[in-house]
Structures are given as structure tokens and as C-alpha cells.
Symmetry: C2
Subunit: 337 residues, 2 copies
């Protein structure tokens, strides 16, 4: 039997579900023979969508789940009550080892809660961080943590740094990734109580390539590969990135539509601009892994289209092949010896 | 005697000091008869620069200060030791009532420390916040606090909200400004310990128009006028704004220089784009006030040119005319009754 990665895919979550999700699944199996996808959700809808495409029937199967967790639902309650929701059903597959990974564009809250409650943490991992990739001038950086658990402790941040380094090195292929902690100045004595306490611990950590503090201004320039912070700061960074980018692009479009002269100019520059700006688009890099769990859980953007879904599924293969969770286990165990 | 505002101006601080600083002073007095500026710094250099311009000699005087505080110097030490630095000399003028306000593009740290140590806090103000204006899609918002004092308490944030509201309403002319607290979700139960504790206090505060939480994504869209947060988060927001903006503009330029076609297009769109992007330029709005002090202290960007210096000086007039400090005093005293 050939080795393959089995991915449970949430058909029901995200702004463009189920159409773009299923399209992404088909794209992934048509690209790679070593992927097997279980699409989880309302069976009839999935069947109808799948019928539109040509693909190897051996690579995609359907698993029925009658309920859907909506984005606005309180996550803890939703995970507890909706036992037949696509998220709960798929996470149970990961827990039982029936799937290697779970990919969803659904409710962030439910995915974070389900990851901890259903899939469960690797022994010794204090808190599983959500780690999206941020586009930068040079390529991308891993922002860790952007999850829902705020008010982190220094020991959490040190584990984030370790897990983030393993992910960047072995999944994203960044050799000896530079790790930095988000701070309000470059000097070691700067920072809030959390950063001041964490800084010397990161400095003393032999498993990572710690380069010191990074000011928010330098994050978009790609000055570090692994950007460590607690989730409240991480959330601000991730969302402000989107917000400032969105407003600048709007302003740009407005400026280009000003008069006939600019409209002609816009026609000439647009294709090249689009190409350049693509490099600054997070969806190119797939979803954000929730690290430190007994299995892989990947959260893609709520507005994910097929391309991001496909990229996220393919990332799961590297994650499995590179034995990321074994590497995390070893690293965390070493901590406790 | 006519009423005028007396501004002490730091000639020695900032990337373009003293040239752009002095140019800004001349622009300000040439625009407004009700301003009197005392330029503080090395006398011979200031004299030489001033000689290049035409202006009403009654409106500008020079006060000698032989020392300069550099950006890299530890602020507390610098303020303590360099008694004849432009920052210390000018702040002493504000303290003694010889000037209404102090404007500087110099060391943020030294200005924040000097503001508290030399100028001193208004009675009852727990912590003076630094409050820059952020450009937004609709205009601008006040981000409060971006100072150097991290790990704030809820009572600090409530005072920031009150002082920020007074400033936005009476200096920037925003009627009944919308106040929001930076959070990781819109719901009241979300947030870290600080936000959760502060939220109900802001909600119960009768002096402000509190509209709830704001996610970082919505800040650039201008969804609130006064953005309340503690300084660590504020620093991230301010600096990431600059960073993302900078990288996107670089990417844009790169895309426009790709080939002959795009270069021609760039020539056509550039003037209009420049005009549009101006609205997204923080320097249009002048510097950031350090609120809650016995006098006004304004920190302008380190890379300020004459335009920002001039705008910052003119803001001081409104600050004085509108009796902002009296309004802050009243508001804070009410708190303690």
C-alpha cells in the first residue's frame, strides 16, 4: 500500500462553502496522488458539487454530518452540543487516527476549542498556538500566537517559539529560522512584564535561533521568520495587516479612477501590479496550523477560495511527511527532562 | 496686549533638525499672527538658519541650550544629566509658565520622561498618554496610548478615553467622538484581563460616547474616533501601520517599474495617486500630544519636515484657546468627587 496523507475537510465552513471548498479538494487531488480527502458535511450537497468535476474517485470520499456550526455561535457550547456537525465529526476522525489532518474555513472559535477538547494537546504542550503566515517584503513570516487564549505566560511563549521554528524549518523550508519577540523597542530592557520575563528565557533556549526583539514596524519587512507574541498582540497584528492593506488598496483604486488620464494609466499598470501584489497575499500560503495537537488542525481564512483550500491540503502532506508532531514531542519532552 | 500662544520649539531634535524645524517655525508665524515661538537649541546654528527667511521678528525669539539629547540615550539619565539640553530647557519654560506648549521631533523617551518629571501631571491624572492621530479611510482617529509606560491598569484606560474625547472634540473638531477599546472580537465577553475589566467601566462612564470594542481590522476604516488601548498594543498599532504602508508602497513602485508599459502607466497615474495617498499621511495632522500634563507637550515624528512642524505648532493654539487642560482638570476632578 502506498503512503498517503488523509485529510478530513470541512465542507460546511467559510464564506464560499461548500462550492470553493470542494473545488479546492478536487484541485488538490488532481495535483497530488499522495492525498486522500474525506469531505465532511451534508452528503447530498457534497455529492451534487463533486459531480461537476473530474477526479480520481479513489482519492475523495464523503462522510455525512448533518449539523453546521455557524461563525456567530458560542464555540464551547457549539462543540459540546452539535455532535453531528462537520467540525466535531471531522475532529473525531483526527482523534481516532482515521485522518491525519483537518482543514476548515469555519468558525475560528469552534476550531480552536475543538482542537483542544476533541483532538487534544501533545503531552507537555501548555497551550496550542494558532500560527498564520504573514506576507512580507521578502516572502512570509510565521506569526505565533493568534489564537483565542489571551494572557499567556512566558513558558507558553517559549513553547510557541520552539514549535514555530520546527514548522518554519520543516514545513515551509526556511533553514535555521530567525525567531524574534514582538516588542516596543529593540533594546533588551524594553517591553511589558511578559516580554521582559520571556526575553532571557528565549535567549537561553538552545533549540531556536533567537535574534531578539522585533518592532511592529519591521514585521512587514520580513526581519524575522518566526514572530513570537501572545494572542492579543498577535490578533492585532494579523487584523491590522488586513485592514491597512485593504484601505490602501481602496485608496489606490480611488486614485486610479480619478480622471481619464489616470484610467488609461491604470489599464497599463494593472496587470503588473496585480502580479506584484500577489506576493503580498496571505492566501497564497494556505491556512494557519493550530500547533501542538495530537494531529494537525488547519484553519484557513473565512473567505478562502479553492486556491487556499488546495494549498492548505497540500501543506498537510509536508506536515505528515516531515513528522512535525514527532519533532514537537521530542522538543517538548526535552524541556521536561 | 493681544492674546497669543507661546510655543517652545526644540531646534535640535529629529532627522531633519535644525533645518526643517526652523523652516516649520517660519511657516507657522507667517501663517498666524497669534503665535509666538521660542526656538530652543544652539544659538549660532539657529541664527544662521533663521537669517535665510523673511518673517516678523517679533514672533520668533531664540533661547540658547548648549546640549543635545540623542535618540539612543537612556531617557531618564539624559533628562537628569543634560540640564542645558534643548528638551530640558524648553520643558522648564513650560513648567514655569514661560511657554504654553513644547514641540519636539526629538527622542520620544526623553520627551515622555521629561513631560512627567519636569512639566508634571495634572492633579489626579494617573498616567499621561501619548496620543498620535492615525490616518483612516474617512479622515483620522486618535490612538491613545502609544507612550512608553506599558502594563496599564483599567483606571488608566478610562482616563485615556476621557482625555482623548476632549482632545478630539475640542482640538480636532470631531463632535461627540466615538470611543472604542481595542479588542480581539466585537463581543463584550471577549478580550484579555485588562480589556474585560475596563469594558464595563467605559460603558458606565457618562462623559464619553463609548461604542464598544473595535477589532484592529476596522481601525484603518475609521470606525471609531478615539481608539483606546494600553501602550504596548498602541505601539504595535502605530508602528505596524507605518510598516505595512511602507512595504505596500514599495511593492507598488516595484510593480510600476516592471516594464515600459507599466512605466508609461505610472507617469499617468502618479500625480493623482500622490494626491490620494496624501490623505493617508499622518504628517498632515501634526504631532502627537502628551495629554494630562501641566502644559502641552507635542511629539512630532522623528522624520518630521517643515509641514508637520508647522501643523504641530498651529495645533498648540487651538489647544490653548479651547482650554483643553482646564477641561481635562474638570473631568478628572469630577472622577474623584
Amino acid at each position: 500500500m502506498a503512503e498517503y496523507t488523509k485529510v478530513a475537510l470541512d465542507a460546511m465552513g467559510g464564506d464560499y462553502a461548500p462550492f470553493e471548498i470542494i473545488k479546492g479538494a478536487v484541485e488538490a487531488v488532481n495535483k497530488r496522488k499522495d492525498i486522500h480527502i474525506v469531505i465532511v458535511g451534508k452528503e447530498d450537497i457534497i455529492k451534487e458539487e463533486l459531480a461537476k468535476y473530474t477526479y480520481d474517485k479513489e482519492q475523495i470520499e464523503i462522510k455525512g454530518a448533518s449539523e453546521v456550526i455557524e461563525t456567530a455561535e458560542p464555540p464551547v457550547m457549539a462543540i459540546r452540543r452539535k455532535k453531528d456537525s462537520s467540525i466535531v465529526v471531522a475532529m473525531n476522525m483526527v482523534k481516532k487516527g482515521e485522518a491525519d489532518a483537518f482543514v476548515s474555513a469555519g468558525s475560528s472559535g469552534a476550531i480552536l476549542v475543538g482542537g483542544q477538547v476533541i483532538v487534544g494537546r501533545i503531552k507537555g504542550v501548555e497551550r496550542p498556538p494558532l500560527a498564520p503566515l504573514l506576507p512580507t517584503k521578502k516572502g512570509f513570516s510565521l506569526l505565533i500566537d493568534c489564537g483565542a487564549n489571551v494572557d499567556a505566560r512566558p513558558s507558553h511563549l517559549v513553547q510557541f517559539a520552539k514549535m514555530g521554528s520546527i514548522y518554519m524549518e520543516h514545513v515551509m523550508g526556511v533553514k535555521n529560522p530567525k525567531v524574534a519577540i514582538v516588542n516596543i523597542g529593540a533594546e533588551e530592557e524594553k517591553g511589558n512584564a511578559l516580554v521582559k520575563e520571556t526575553f532571557p528565557m528565549l535567549k537561553a533556549c538552545p533549540d531556536i535561533n533567537f535574534t531578539g526583539s522585533i518592532e511592529a514596524r519591521n514585521i512587514p519587512y520580513g526581519d524575522a521568520d518566526v514572530i513570537v507574541c501572545e494572542a492579543f498582540a498577535g490578533n492585532i497584528i494579523l487584523k491590522l495587516y488586513e485592514g491597512v492593506g485593504g484601505v490602501l488598496v481602496d485608496k489606490l483604486k480611488e486614485g486610479m479612477m480619478k480622471n481619464l488620464r489616470t484610467k488609461i494609466g491604470a489599464l497599463l499598470v494593472k496587470p503588473a501590479l496585480k502580479e506584484t501584489m500577489k506576493g503580498f497575499d496571505a492566501s497564497e500560503y494556505g491556512g494557519a496550523p493550530l500547533l501542538g495537537l495530537n494531529g494537525l488542525v488547519v484553519k484557513t481564512h473565512g473567505n478562502s477560495k479553492a486556491r487556499e483550500v488546495c494549498n492548505s491540503i497540500i501543506q498537510c502532506v509536508t506536515f505528515k511527511e516531515q513528522k512535525i508532531n514527532e519533532k514537537i514531542k521530542e522538543c517538548i519532552q526535552k524541556e521536561q527532562e
